[in-house]
């Protein structure tokens, strides 16, 4: 899934990568809230554009574009369902406003994907685990989280090996109708699960051998410290949030077609 491709972390060093994950998460949540608050196209365009500098600063433009391209499929579904249903309800007269409304809904989704993608592209799972720990999530859960992330590529590779092995024995994965195809994957899933269980046992053994659970007051090699950049981002986010809430209730938001007379004249 190319949309998820854009959520995969790669180690790059940039001012955005160095930010505290908690502050970045606060920013994502704020973005989410603001995007949901508005149904008009204009503020959503603004939201989309103000995030672009963050992407270029984080030097993840390529991956980010990839995730945007992946989101395009879902975005078009959102666009067409909104468009078709509003059209059915409101008829032909309101076509420009329906068009604008559907575009706004689509852009809302894109803004959400954009901010989440910035978060995941620039936050190492290690830091994420650490942030969870600092937020008083029990260490066992944080550990389970980072370990799960760490074993994704390992299991993917293993699945590929099993698939090759089963194909070599004559298993045809791409044959038959949908039900048959799903059933074709059973001989792949079972060894994969059995192997995963065996692997987890070995992991547990290795963890025990390295003093897992020796003390309640576990230390951590890394430390999260709020630096200047974190305060700046937090401040900007608060300002944006306040402005957005204020504008929502006190400033009437013009429609794009009201600004551009060529559309309004129709």
């Amino acid at each position: 899934m190319s949309m998820f491709e854009g959520l995969k972390f790669r180690k790059v060093s940039s001012p955005i990568h160095d930010l505290d994950p908690r502050v970045k998460f606060f920013y994502v949540i704020a973005m989410f809230a603001v995007a949901v608050m508005y149904m008009e196209l204009l503020p959503l365009i603004v939201l989309f554009l103000i995030q672009v500098p963050l992407v270029t600063m984080a030097k993840v433009t390529k991956q980010w574009i990839k995730s945007m391209r992946g989101a395009a499929f879902f975005a078009s579904i959102i666009f067409f369902t909104n468009f078709i249903f509003s059209y059915l309800y409101q008829g032909q007269q309101a076509l420009p406003s329906i068009l604008e409304y559907s575009m706004a809904m689509t852009l809302r989704f894109i803004v959400l994907v954009e901010s989440f993608s910035i978060f995941f592209l620039t936050t190492s799972p290690d830091h994420l685990g650490l942030a969870l720990e600092k937020s008083h999530v029990p260490y066992e859960f944080c550990f389970a989280f980072t370990t799960a992330v760490r074993f994704v590529p390992v299991l993917a590779e293993e699945a590929q090996t099993i698939m090759d092995a089963q194909k070599a024995r004559g298993l045809e994965l791409e044959k038959g109708n949908i039900l048959k195809r799903v059933r074709n994957y059973i001989p792949i899933l079972i060894p994969l699960i059995v192997n995963a269980i065996r692997r987890s046992l070995e992991l547990a053994e290795a963890m025990e051998s390295r003093a897992w659970g020796a003390t309640k007051n576990r230390t951590n090699l890394y430390e999260l410290k709020l630096r200047r950049g974190d305060y700046i981002l937090a401040l900007l986010t608060v300002v944006m949030l306040v402005l957005a809430v204020y504008a929502r209730w006190h400033i009437p938001i013009p429609r794009i077609m009201e600004i551009f007379p060529w559309k309004a004249s129709r």
């Binding site: 799972p125 980072t146 760490r150 692997r199 070995e202 053994e205 897992w212 230390t219």
Partner: protein, 281 residues
């Protein structure tokens, strides 16, 4: 006092009918390099699990007899306490690394012990430098080669500064050259840091020269236990079917042909030197 001492150690896995190890009485002295070998399924891994308390704490089952490691009774001390003294390195490097960066993995044990951050940093850097992987510290373990991964596993055990290191077939997933390097590293830890090594290995060709002692197990019992040269030359060792080094076989062959070399060679270097001396005479 010996650093590891077992007396009539017998263990049965839960649900198993047959004992996995039986009547094991061995003594290992501090600073020794012990090579533990024997056919697959002979109980080597089971014995290793006893050294750091995985047996009986992690695998329940029935343990009889006595086992003391670094003066601690294994049955009475939890694994995490024994882990400070005995490091275990497993066969598959992939399944003993859990973090997303090498240095975090090496720090894992120290973090669990609650050691202050500054000291963790020092010990991690030291362990990484000792095992020659300092330059890899920020890489994710799954991107590394098998040999590098196994080095990370060794470093992560080393960082805990144990007195004893038990390595259970650490090279069975590696290519010969990677294996050779790992053995050299292990030898270095033994020579320079004085860590007692217990190495489970089939490749005696590469390891016999480092060992002070070889223990051969078969069917859950210790069959032979003694000096490498005596053990490898014995008829019993050959019959069990362990991989006697080729140079030792050559020595036996030459001996049979009436060519007397005065000691059993353990490595090709030793053999070459010996042969040169003989030919000069």
């Amino acid at each position: 006092m010996a650093i590891i001492e077992t007396e009539k150690l017998t263990y049965t896995y839960p649900g198993a009918e047959k004992t996995s190890i039986e009547n094991i009485s061995i003594k290992i002295e501090e600073g020794e390099f012990v090579l533990l070998t024997g056919p697959s399924g002979c109980g080597k891994t089971t014995l290793c699990r006893c050294f750091n308390g995985l047996i009986p704490h992690f695998y329940e089952g029935k343990l009889e007899g006595k086992i003391q490691v670094v003066g601690l009774d294994v049955v009475k001390h939890p694994i995490h306490e024994l882990a400070k003294h005995v490091g275990l390195v497993f066969q598959n490097p992939e399944n003993q690394l859990f973090a997303l960066s090498v240095e975090k993995d090496v720090a894992f044990g120290l973090e669990n012990l609650g050691i202050p951050r500054k000291e963790i940093r020092q010990r991690v850097d030291w362990a990484l430098k000792t095992t020659d992987i300092y330059h890899l510290r920020e890489r994710p373990p799954y991107e590394l080669s098998g040999g590098q991964q196994q080095r990370v596993a060794i470093a992560s055990v080393l960082a805990m500064q144990p007195e004893v290191m038990v390595l259970d077939e650490p090279t069975s997933f590696l290519d010969p050259l990677g294996a050779k390097r790992i053995f050299e590293d292990i030898h270095k830890l033994n020579k320079e840091l004085g860590i007692t090594i217990i190495l489970v290995e089939h490749r005696l060709d590469l390891t016999a020269k480092y060992a002070n002692r070889i223990i051969i197990m078969d069917n859950g019992k210790v069959i032979l236990n003694g000096k490498p040269r005596e053990i490898l030359d014995s008829e019993k060792a050959r019959l069990i079917g362990i991989g006697i080094p080729k140079v030792t076989r050559l020595y036996q062959f030459l001996n049979g042909k009436g060519m007397r070399l005065n000691y059993v060679p353990l490595s090709s270097e030793e053999m070459a030197k010996k042969l040169k001396e003989v030919f000069k005479q």
